[in-house]
Amino acid sequence: MSKIKLSADKLNTIKEICASFGNKSGEVINVLHQVQGKFGYLPAEVQEAVAHELQMPVAKVYGIVSFYSFFTMQPKGKHPISICLGTACYVRGAEKVLDEFKRQLNIPDGGVTPDGKFSIDTLRCVGACGLAPVAMIGDKVYGRLTPDKVKDVLAEYAE
Amino acid sequence: MTKVKSLAELKAMREKLQNSLDVREKSEHPESLVQVKVAMATCGIAAGAKQVMEHMMEKAEALKIPCVFTQTGCMGYCHAEPTIEVRVPGRDPLVFGHVDNNRADEILEKYVQNNELVEGIIPVNYEVIDK
């Protein structure tokens, strides 16, 4: 018997979410959306628990998690930064903005700062092309960014 | 909310609701409607322009004249307030001065509906308002 440990809280949350979808394996993507919404990410033991509740192979759950870019197994920073690299942003210099974020925070794309405050990701088009180039920090959208604005934007999150 | 049970009910509901969007619907194609611009600067309001505008809106509706009412700033005829500009499709715009409820009715019934002259026309000294 191999045991997978999970906090009682988390396990209950997962059970509730799965149950709200009738524990149907066809609902796994909806379940994962909600579970990630609660925990911020989908570590292995959480996927194990989801697989167990929905009675499906955990390999299949992981197959799904690793397929869709929305799902992540890495916890993000407290203020997750997403830089849009959609075409509209790209041709208006989004790469330079991304580089500046990386330089300021000294982390790569996909990385988290050591203090867990920021993380950087790229995404494809948030649909705010009029404001290109665009970055999101948490739910807040920053438009018409230039590299020299990056420092000020980050300063908003100083504690 | 109560359920809509047939197409007829839906249409009736639309009739009822349409008023609320009237203003927007009409401004989509103002050139095909009678456009009434009411000068609503301080002097106009003081002279009762607001009340006249409301009266005129009701009257137009009663006469079933498709009108679009807009308010505008001072037209420069402070001596003749309240003043309104009326533009009927296919005719040159006219500006009327000293418009009260009676004259408003007259403008709609005589000038707009039957193209009869109405008193109070102020000679136009500009091309288009609000350019």
Binding site: M1, S2, K3, I4, K5, L6, S7, A8, L11, N12, A44, E45, Q47, E48, A49, A51, H52, M56, P57, V58, A59, K60, V61, Y62, G63, S66, F67, M73 | -
Partner: protein, 587 residues
């Protein structure tokens, strides 16, 4: 019927036929890679992913995958136009551009479908240089994975999920990083893998191969202090010949025994002997359980067979609540090991630790079974090494032996004599039939009116029958493919509504003859069918066809074990099972 033209040949085929099959009927062999079918056995892998089988269809904008495109009336197909050949070559070049060029050392060399394609297309260089996958290799006791060789045909994934319902493998990641893997890309050994090895059997390349134990066996053979004993499983003898160019279904029992002797094994025994022993133990156990129920006592029914280690692992991982339904009888391989290292070692005066027992199996799961702690005494395993039919063939070739030239020889005594009942263990339904032959006669004390139980034979995935034991209707079921077994277990969990008494489960398609350690069948189910026919032919030719009539079996009970399910046999020939399921626990 649909009429079409393929490479200017008029062809007429049934509606719903694919271009690939239509072309085959016309004698045109369109190359494939990901496509895989075991005709008549409900296994088809048709993702249309590799794009090797593309053909030109007149009037169509792009090329069509022949494996998955149905024929249409009046279709004009070209399988060898310059456009098709260029596309096919480029696709193979692309696959090779992310594939290690280590054919010389690859276990699959000579049996590799990608290699064969490259040869056929005359690939001399790979124009595309670029990033190559760098996955860590990984191994269980049975299966070796080198995903750098994976071509994403998904056959293993289909096998693991659809046929075996083991759910160990899934396509993971996407794009260039897409690969088939266990969850979290963890080692296969930590997954729900049950080591059936069918992924290896269907892998077209060297991404999934067996764990090679030839070296261990060679070392034992070279050690003068060791007495090396070999046992060969029933299904090996009907398949080994294929590795030496013989027709599928050729029986090479005698040549094989001769080869093993030439290679230096001290005793050449037969797992068929212990298969007869298994029937005695397992059949007796069944009769005990049924007897108890008939007496109004409690007993767990139905009883499931326990010969197949992949099935046992599957039950332990997925149905911990139903482990009491499994027969406690060890598998024939392990019964042999126990009898050999206890009874036989004692008999010839060899110390247990100086004896090396090697098994030759059609199976890769057996490699994991020999390592189970229950099958060890003070750390010394009853069976030291298990090699597959393919490894045996490699060894024979290394020894420079051509089994075609060898005389037919007999197995050694006393663990070499067997009956027809043991021979048929190799085919799905065989264990059931063997058990019925004995159980009927033991229970009814009468001779069977007919010895062939046709109702449990054949390549259907699930077979059921009711056998009349002189007024006692015995309900049996036979299945292969663990997805079928899963359905059976769920039915039993739900109260066994059909009232089965005895259920045979084998993991591999067609039973052990389709085992993962057998020569690669490359999707040709006729090969499995021919092995099955050979199995029943061998049975029919045997002078004794019921396990309880095997004189050596009768002798060992008289001399050593006393009677079936005696105290000593329980100690040596029975085992216990463990809950190996995954549990999610709250902290």
């Amino acid at each position: 019927m649909v009429k079409l033209t393929i490479d200017n040949k008029p062809v007429e085929v049934a509606e719903g036929t694919t271009i690939l099959k239509a072309a085959r009927q016309a004698g045109i062999n369109i190359p494939t890679l990901c496509y895989f079918e075991l005709a008549g056995m409900k296994f088809e892998n048709k993702p249309g992913g590799c794009r090797v089988c593309v053909v030109e269809v007149e009037g169509r904008r792009n090329l069509a995958p022949a494996c998955a495109t149905d024929v249409m009336e009046g279709m004009v197909v070209h399988t060898n136009s310059p456009r098709v050949i260029n596309a096919r070559r480029t696709v193979v070049e692309l696959i090779l551009s992310d594939h290690p060029n280590d054919c010389l050392q690859c276990e699959k060399s000579g049996d590799c479908e990608l290699q064969a394609l490259a040869v056929k297309l005359g690939i001399r260089e790979i124009p595309f240089k670029g990033e190559q996958s760098t996955y860590k290799t990984d191994t269980t006791l049975s299966v070796y994975r080198d995903m750098n060789k994976c071509v994403m045909c998904r056959r293993c994934e289909t096998m693991c999920n659809k046929i075996q319902s083991a759910g160990a493998l899934s396509g993971v990641n996407r794009g260039f990083q897409a690969v088939v893997s266990p969850a979290f890309e963890q080692p296969l050994g930590e997954s729900s893998c049950i080591n059936c090895g069918q992924c290896v059997q269907v892998c077209p390349v060297g991404a999934l191969t067996l764990v090679d134990n030839i070296g261990d066996v060679m070392k034992a053979l070279a050690d003068p202090k060791k007495t090396v004993v070999v046992q060969t499983a029933p299904a090996v003898r009907v398949a080994l010949g294929e590795e030496f160019g013989m027709e599928p279904g050729t029986i090479v029992t005698g040549n094989m025994a001769a080869a093993l002797r030439r290679m230096g094994f001290d005793y050449v025994f037969d797992t068929d002997w212990s298969a007869d022993l298994t029937i005695m133990e397992e059949g007796t156990e069944l009769l005990h359980r049924v007897g108890k129920v008939l007496n109004g006592e409690k007993a767990v029914l139905p009883q499931f067979t326990s010969c197949c280690p992949a099935w046992i692992a599957f039950a332990e991982k997925n149905f911990p609540d139903l482990l009491d339904n499994l027969s406690t009888a060890k598998s024939p391989q392990q019964m042999f090991g126990a009898a050999c290292k206890n009874y036989f070692a004692q008999k010839i005066g060899v110390k247990r630790e100086d004896m090396v027992v090697v098994s030759v199996m059609p199976c890769l799961a057996k490699k994991s079974e020999v390592a189970r702690d229950e099958f060890k005494v003070n750390g010394d395993p009853d069976v030291n090494f298990s090699i597959s039919t393919r490894e045996l063939a490699h060894m024979i070739k290394q020894f420079n032996i051509d089994i075609n030239d060898l005389p037919e020889e007999n197995f050694d005594s006393p663990l070499g004599e067997s009956t027809g009942a043991a021979v048929i263990f190799g085919a799905t339904g065989g264990v059931m039939e063997a058990a019925l032959r004995t159980a009927y006669e033991v229970q009814t004390k009468k001779t069977l009116p007919r010895i062939d139980f046709e109702e449990v034979r054949g390549l259907d995935g699930v077979k059921t029958a009711t056998i009349d034991f002189e007024g006692l209707p015995v309900k049996v079921a036979v299945c292969y493919g663990l997805a079928n077994a899963r359905a059976m277990m769920e039915e039993v969990r739900g109260g066994n509504p059909r009232g089965f008494h005895f259920i045979e489960v084998m993991a591999c398609p067609g039973g052990c003859i389709g085992g993962a350690g057998q020569p690669y069948h490359h999707g040709n189910s006729d090969i499995i069918r021919k092995r099955m026919e050979a199995t029943y032919r061998e049975d029919a030719g045997k002078p004794i066809r019921k396990s309880h009539e095997n004189p050596d079996i009768i002798a060992i009970y008289k001399e050593y074990y006393g009677e079936p399910c005696s105290h000593l046999s329980h100690e040596q020939l029975h085992t216990t099972y463990f809950d190996r399921s995954k549990k999610i626990e709250a902290e």
